[in-house]
């Protein structure tokens, strides 16, 4: 009996190791290639024959194709603004729809659900023309506007969390003479740390991971203006890939480091926020 259990356990972990290694192959390839001395795609060997740090150095050099420093700063700038505005918008809408029982609440929430069904790619075309009419294409301000303006629509997760906050707390605060605004800032906000951290990180990540909007709005071809995602995508153009593939990998590794850290922090809050809400309610 015991040996049978032991064999089962070993088998279980062998399967796990196989699964994990399957899942890690691309990541290992990414990191390995980023150190490769050969600039293009190495089509004969998985691991590079010669190792070098030059790809990382090239990212911060003066090459306009690999203008990584500018891209990183651009994205960082946009991400910071986006993070503040989107978080405020999302939390504000979530609080209003969860705590204030005003007349237009239900119709408004329905409209929000319907709007969410429209593919973003569709409205993007006319968003582009609106920005063009305002002379905001090829500006970071325009791109930031696109990321932030309709962020209020993503309120559902935060609302689900707010719904689980006991109403008696608000009533007590009201009896003590606190205004709604004060209740919001001094009582509800501290209680909702998980969902607020989640919202902050996810809105910070949007500009780092978005590809479509950036490509559409920053289309002038001046690499100083780009964000990380379009910059890296551009390195894989047919004429460039053979001299930039390893540098692309190095860029991918560098972007992934801060994003992974934030992501790992966020996923804890995500799971807490969502399932806490789902079950308590």
């Amino acid at each position: 009996m015991k040996t049978k259990q032991l064999i089962k356990d070993i088998l279980r972990h062998v399967v796990l190791v196989l699964l994990v290694s399957f899942w890690l192959i691309p990541i290992v390839w990414l990191i390995a290639t980023s150190f490769s001395a050969y600039p293009g795609r190495n089509t004969s060997n998985f691991f590079p024959e010669q190792l070098t740090l030059n790809n990382y150095i090239a990212l911060f050099g003066s090459d306009t194709v690999a203008n990584f420093k500018a891209w990183f700063m651009n994205t960082f700038k946009i991400a910071c603004v986006c993070c503040v505005v989107s978080t405020l918008f999302t939390i504000m809408v979530a609080y209003a729809t969860s705590f204030s029982k005003f007349k237009a609440r239900k119709p408004m929430m329905n409209i929000a659900v319907i709007l969410n069904l429209f593919p973003g790619v569709l409205s993007m075309i006319s968003v582009y023309f609106i920005l063009k009419a305002l002379n905001l294409t090829n500006t970071h301000f325009g791109l930031t506007l696109v990321y932030c303006a309709s962020s209020g629509l993503g309120f559902l997760i935060a609302k689900g969390f707010f719904d689980t906050v006991p109403r008696s707390l608000c009533e007590a605060a009201k009896l003590d003479g606190a205004s709604q605004a004060r209740t919001f800032f001094t009582i509800i906000m501290p209680l909702s740390k998980p969902i607020i951290v989640y919202t902050i990180i996810s809105s910070f990540l949007t500009p780092w991971t978005d590809f479509v909007f950036a490509k559409m709005i920053l289309n002038s071809g001046i690499s100083d203006m780009w964000t990380v995602s379009i910059g890296l995508y551009n390195m894989l153009e047919r004429s460039l890939i053979n001299s930039y593939f390893s540098i692309f990998c190095a860029g991918g590794v560098i972007v992934s480091i801060p994003i992974s850290i934030l992501f790992v922090i966020m996923q804890k809050f995500y799971v807490d926020g969502i399932t806490g809400g789902a079950v308590k309610g």
Binding site: R12, L16, L19, V20, L24, P26, I27, W29, L30, R41, T43, F89, M92, V93, S100, K103, R105, K106, P107, M108, N110, V113, L115, F118, P119, V121, L122, S123, I125, S126, F129, I130, A133, L145, V146, A149, S150, G152, L156, K159, G160, D163, S179, Q180, A181, R182, T209, V212, R238, I241, F248, C249, S256, V264, V271, T275, G277, A278, V279, G281
Partner: protein, 491 residues
Amino acid sequence: MLFNGVIKMTTTDTSAKKETFLSSLGGFFKDFIAAVAKGDFFVKLSVIWWGAGYIRRKQFIRTLLITALEAAVILFSIYFAPQYITKLGTLGTVKMESVFNLETMKYDVNNYDDSFQILLFSVISIAVWVVALFILMKNVIAVYNLQLKSKRGEHLNSFVDDLNALLNEKFHVTLLTLPVLGIVLFSVIPIFVLILVAFTNYDQQHMPPAELFTWTGLTNFINLFGGGGLSITFGYSFVRVLLWTLIWSLFATFTTFFGGVLLSLFLRNKRTKLPKLWRSLFVVTIAVPQFVTLLLVRNFFANNGIANTMLRDIGITQVLQNIGLIPSDYIPFLSAPGWAHVMIILINIWIGVPYQMLIMTGVLSNLPEEQIESASIDGATKWQTFRHITMPYVLFVTGPSLVTDFVKNINNFNVIYLLTQDVYTTTNQALANSQAREVDLLVTWLFRLTQEYYNYKMASVIGICVFVLCSVITLVAFGLMTRGDKEGVYN
């Protein structure tokens, strides 16, 4: 609660809600008419001069503010709106022409019409007027209430009281104003504009500012659904792209869902050592941004990529070639129909399973443990427990999110675009004529139509189709789910 919230909003009270929404709108109109009919002279006057009712009650700051707002609306209606609204019927008639001016040695451009600007600013003007009408009516009702209050000798709210109210009972107004404004400008108006574009001939031959476009009625819809002559193959492509979109969403949603459930069950099993370590290793794969991993994987599986080299070295390519599965000495992972379809779904499993696993870990940590224990005491097998306790619970909690995942996958732009753009070219002439490819989803087709072919009219029609598809699926699925209301079982 979150999920319950979603269900409630979309279905349970759809019927009740529609009534309340319409009836509240009706009530609003009734209030307005009553206010105009029963109000005194100043209330009646405030239909024309918005500040009238306030000046009667000696509320000067309010009078000033609302009059300034009215003035702004009037100026907007005189100086801005007419130049566009008047041309909405034709979308402009004067084409851009440039004449070389010998005196200044420059090209003089005539005062041409820009069809898209006419469309866009007309929609904006109409939106402004709708809001202005609403404010007008709301204002009349408010002034009438003031009149009633003063008649009863009650305290009238001063301007300072108003400001206080914005932090108290009207706090939601303070909170919602900016976000709603953003949504209207960057979601609602664009959607309206795009819906209108579907009824025009806005494409590469009709590109403002150089050319005009105009209304064409239902022509684009007829083209899409197959009535459009021999050269246009949009109908043919639409059916194929739609079919693949649905197949893709179905597979993408269910493979990652069940993969996630199985993986997280596997990891949370008591006999698995170091579950946290394993979990983190899986999470690493999704922490790397999608555009990096997808572009990387695409090169991994390129025709002359490393995967092909390795398979050729082992001799698998040779075997496949011998049995006639592939015509070349490489495997066209992402460049031939069939192969590409399967690869896309497989690569999506690689991306999606860790993500689902994360969510499932949270969901499963709230499993009804007592039920499982009592089941195992009663001698239930593992499969029975899974089938009759775990799965129903998981489906109950995540059912609604499964539907939203399905809809998200219909619109899953990133995976398809980043994996196949520049790599996959179709050999099917009929598809190529309408700029579609076998692996395109409706959204990627739409995107490429606009980005590469400037065919805005067809893109808009496809966009409307995507919306209809998504809403039908959502409504039907939530309807089915709420029919068997099992909320009581787990609460």
